[in-house]
Amino acid sequence: MRDPLSKNVVNIKPSGIRKFFDIVSEMKDAISLGVGEPDFDTPWHIREEGIYSLEKGRTFYTSNSGLKELKIEICNYLHRRFDLQYNYESETLVTVGGSEAIDLALRAMIDPGDEVLIPQPCYVSYHPCTILAGGVPVVIELKGENDFKLTREELISAITDKTKILFLAFPNNPTGAVMDYDDLKAIVDIIIEKDLYVISDEIYSELSYGKKHVSIASFPGMKERTIVINGFSKSYAMTGWRLGYATGPANIIEQMTKIHQFAIMCAPTTSQYAAIEALKNGDSDVEMMKDAYDKRRRFLVQSFNNMGLTCFEPYGAFYVFPSIKSLNMTSDEFATQLLMEEKVAVVPGTAFGACGEGYLRISYAYSIDNLKIAMERIERFVKKHQTS
């Protein structure tokens, strides 16, 4: 019999998170700080709108690119919050989560051999999706001493004449790093000069603490070369609804819509109706959740620094990324032993790229009571292993 499998697919390494998930799942009564989704329920008025749409029998396909009213609300929102202006008809596509939008953007833009710059540590899908789309992933290893921001020098040294796309994902999962206006300004002219396109994954944009989120698409000359990815999962605690969107130049969105049309048809209708309500009346929910995350964020950063695991202050998302380099073990060893000895699950930094070695991703999408117990256990673990 012939091998049924595609070599391209088989050669992709399974996610490092997956391996750890299997270990944790067998551990009863472990406290997990390992999730990448909010602990809040979707606000009731949003859920209620979804239920209402079902009661009304709105159980049909929508147009491929999404409900008109939703696309209008998305464009209003992006304008209101981030000063981005998009046409709802030609420059907006509603997708099944931000994940689908990432895949579509890559598939719509990559020809075989095109290089895609992926600053790591980063979300786990960029690398494999690039390969699946026929591109060549080129990893840029971001550094702790730069607070895991992409610097101008790092960008320049990674560009070749085959480079076509740069991934930017700030606020970042797993580091919590943000790139503010000045950080982005420092790389914009290179991107334009080298004629690169940017896939900007801004799914955590609402979870920016202190400074307001700046989208790279808002810089002059950048809108025409940026696909902005966003969605409802993190800002409105709607992960299970699977709803995201992409905005960008009409010619790219048109091709993305074509793939979406053949592969998916349309994003879930119920979710689209709920999302309209989220954008219309959800601003105060976002504020409430952000405020709660912010308190936990400060609590964790200080806890880690107090116990001697240096932790730069993350200004976004809901992760802290403490360094364990003062202990004599790898991220993988730390995470595994912590789970065995103290029953606390965290994700090793290496799950998000090799340069995550020496770090852990700690999620603070948990109640403060939960975090307090977990921090006590981690502190006990660290003390034990520092002296031994």
Binding site: F21, G34, V35, G36, Y123, K295, R298, F299, D369
Partner: protein, 160 residues
């Protein structure tokens, strides 16, 4: 900072000064001082616990009583409200707009005990014109917190 502290302990009074200091990005001494001030100014009036007594095997009855009263010259409703809230059985007293004047929430061991209180203590007061007693059958939510369901974390333990 006062408002921030109040908002933080509104739903969780067990947070210590150390916790609050870490969460709000300040130091323990400042939090302790502010808490003391808030208590002295009677802005923080107590630290009760939210208990779902329905799940405990001991009889408790809650009644909400609509009370119409005749306000007194120079004192308005305050004097009569005070005469009512001094009783230990009384959990809450609110001055209302609309069809009646005071909402009085009573807790007792039995329905008879509550009925006796209304008949013997409350209704005969001079200023009181009428009462209408409603017994609470089940409590679903109090102080912004649901009493009925136990919410479990159904998220996967690890996700990207």
């Amino acid at each position: 900072m006062r408002e921030k502290i109040l908002a933080a302990i509104d739903k969780n009074s067990r947070l210590s000064a150390t916790d609050l200091a870490m969460m709000l990005g300040t130091n323990e001494e400042e939090v302790a001082t502010i808490l003391k001030d808030l208590e002295d100014e009677h802005i923080i009036c107590g630290y009760p616990t939210l208990i779902n007594w329905d799940k405990v095997k001991c009889e408790r009855v809650t009644a909400l009583i609509e009370v119409k009263v005749t306000p007194q010259r120079g004192l308005g409703f305050d004097k009569i409200a005070e005469r009512i809230y001094q009783f230990d059985e009384v959990q809450s007293v609110y001055l209302m707009s609309g069809g009646f004047d005071l909402t009085v929430i009573i807790e007792g061991k039995t329905m008879r005990e509550v009925a006796n209180f209304v008949a013997a203590k409350l209704a005969p007061m001079d200023a009181i014109q009428s009462t209408a007693t409603h017994f609470v059958l089940k409590k679903y939510k109090e102080h912004g917190l649901p009493l009925v369901q136990i919410k479990q974390d159904e998220r996967m333990l690890i996700s990207p």
